[in-house]
Symmetry: C2
Subunit: 350 residues, 2 copies
DNA sequence: TTGTACGCGTTATCAT
DNA sequence: ATGATAACGCGTACAA
């Protein structure tokens, strides 16, 4: 087999570029570019030439170069603070599908730092901005205010997912946490509970605050006081610990509303395992969120369910509209409804 | 306040570039570039000039442009087929930390398509290659062989995580699935089980196959036959269904080894909820994987635990070494040990 | 419809 | 140590 030697120099197998394709097809680079850009006019004959040359070379457009040229990376920065809470993997999975379908991709950042102001947060902001993402989805994280502020300054569209920051003019998608809290209060009351406690999440998170506020509102409408309060930091072990404290008192609650399912599992563990109480016979528990069935274990938990699917759809819609409409799109505030659901994995799901 | 008019034209606030910084600092672009590139020689004085100018303008290096120039994106494509199985979110979280610490970022792809050969898979390959990722981590997915082949062709370093493909010269990180199967067999035997069944995952996945092979090996060493077999496709509902079938027979097994925890939860649901059997009194169940404590619910499952942390560390190490050493690094095959663990969320974890 | 030439923001090369 | 200049691969006026 004869070795063809290229006129200039023998370059080691490198990715074929648009120029290579143009040369092989005997057309200009613009013709090739147009062939791979939908909505442009190319003659059928040249298009065929280009495509065959491209196939022969195994050509693939370089998204990075395109980004530099068009100033659109088609990457969305997704920031979550943890993935323990099974709510988020679920959201991310759907998110990935929706974005992929519209030609966008996920640059993932897990910012699991404790407390704001540490330098991991700064590094994260630094990194995410360097990569020229077209938009950012900020999913419930403690560091959202800081990140949001920086993104605003950089004119990057941002959607706050289940998190309200103090930043003006950022679009927000959240479930009706306040009403969820009210529902929880009414539900526990109707089931006969009278000494009702609350276990919150991260104290200064908007979700925990709103759920608590709604819960208080619901209780006071029923003429009930809040019997006990504690905060589990949205963390499994912390929630377990504070639950044990709360129920070891001489006069413990007969019910508790927990600010998310992740902690609710921990609370039920503490009640049944450590304290030997029966759930729901001795203590009733209501959670909040929407984790997939496989996460419910043997718990049979009553929960306030967020419409994760709707929230995700809304977030994608808002973000991409904002991106593709330039800066002309106004900030929205989208609130999705919640509902009471009783699920268990030992019975068919409702 | 006087309006200064720039000599050329008034550009609407745009991201400051390296050139802008150079102009303001009164130095060349190279000086600026060097200032932001560690390990280069710049005079202290010019460095100071550049930094102050950069700070004044709010300059941030453009990672995309850098990628085009250096041919290193510092992005790692991570492909998973689903996030329901809580094992993967866990891995991704650690992965993110490790990569971030070494200056790399995650471009996430969720390829939850059923069966190979569909065009979603092709689109995924297409996308991931366009973005010039420096390497790919392929986490247990049915489409790995195809993806792996394409990446090999594109000379992109790739690590197969918990998945062995038919591709030569790809580095592999997996736990000792075979030995895990053996352990499961011995464990169930020691606990008195004699009619032992197996519920596998995706039939042609290497993890399921290896676990099954080890299990068979273990059983035959004990002189036991395999009492029943079924496949749950690594899916919650499917596993539930096949478990019900298996245990509704006139002479059901007295124990079952399930190829991962995700399905093991489903199986225990079926046994206790649908069939009214007691676990472990009537039926013993052993799972496989390593899902975080919060996912164990009230199950109190015995499982073969993978060392997820070690696997992730190994994967990152292998991938980055390969990337930074060019193509000179040979393909490795890393196998991490497993161990029997009994965990429950109603008792303190072991 | 097609081709030419320049810009995108950065790094690398080679002088100085 | 510093500066001019050419890549990097692609879009896109603008001209033909």
């Amino acid at each position: 087999m004869p070795r063809h030697k290229a006129p200039s120099s023998v370059k080691p197998t490198r990715q074929p570029t648009l120029t290579d394709v143009a040369a092989l097809a005997g057309v200009s680079t613009s013709a090739v570019s147009r062939t791979f850009t939908p909505g442009t006019s190319v003659a059928k004959s040249t298009r065929a030439l280009v495509l065959s040359a491209a196939k022969k070379l195994g050509y693939r457009p370089n998204a990075i170069a395109r980004t530099l040229s068009t100033r659109r990376s088609h990457m969305i920065g997704v920031v979550v603070c943890y993935l323990h809470n099974q709510f988020y993997p679920n959201v991310i999975e759907l998110l990935s599908q929706l974005l992929q379908a519209r030609g966008y991709h996920i640059l993932l950042f897990v910012g699991n730092d404790r407390g704001p102001g540490d330098n991991a947060t700064d590094a994260l902001i630094h990194d995410i901005l360097q990569y020229q993402v077209d938009g950012i989805l900020l999913a419930s994280t403690t560091l959202s205010s800081l990140v949001a502020a920086h993104c605003q300054a950089a004119h990057i569209p941002i959607v706050l997912f289940n998190r309200v920051a103090s930043v003006q003019s950022a679009t927000t998608v959240e479930s009706d946490n306040f009403q969820g809290g009210q529902l929880a209060a009414r539900l526990l009351f109707e089931r006969g509970a009278r000494r009702i406690g609350f276990i919150g999440g991260v104290v200064d998170s908007s979700t925990s605050r709103d759920r608590e506020a709604g819960f208080l509102s619901g209780l006071s409408a029923l003429g009930l006081p809040l019997f006990a309060t504690a905060y589990g930091d949205y963390d499994f072990d912390t929630a377990k610990a504070v639950a044990i404290d709360m129920f070891r008192r001489p006069d413990p609650p007969d019910a508790v509303f927990v600010a998310n399912d992740h902690m609710a599992f921990a609370v039920m563990d503490a009640l049944r395992g450590t304290l030997g109480l029966r759930v729901p016979e001795d203590v009733q528990v209501v959670g909040f969120d929407n984790v997939p069935q496989s996460g419910w274990g043997g718990y049979e938990l009553t929960t306030i369910e967020q419409d994760a699917e709707r929230m995700t759809h809304a977030a994608v819609e808002a973000l991409l509209n904002h991106i593709e409409a330039g800066a002309s799109s106004p900030a929205q505030r989208i609130v999705t409804p919640v509902r009471v659901v009783e699920r268990s994995s030992t019975r068919p799901a409702v």
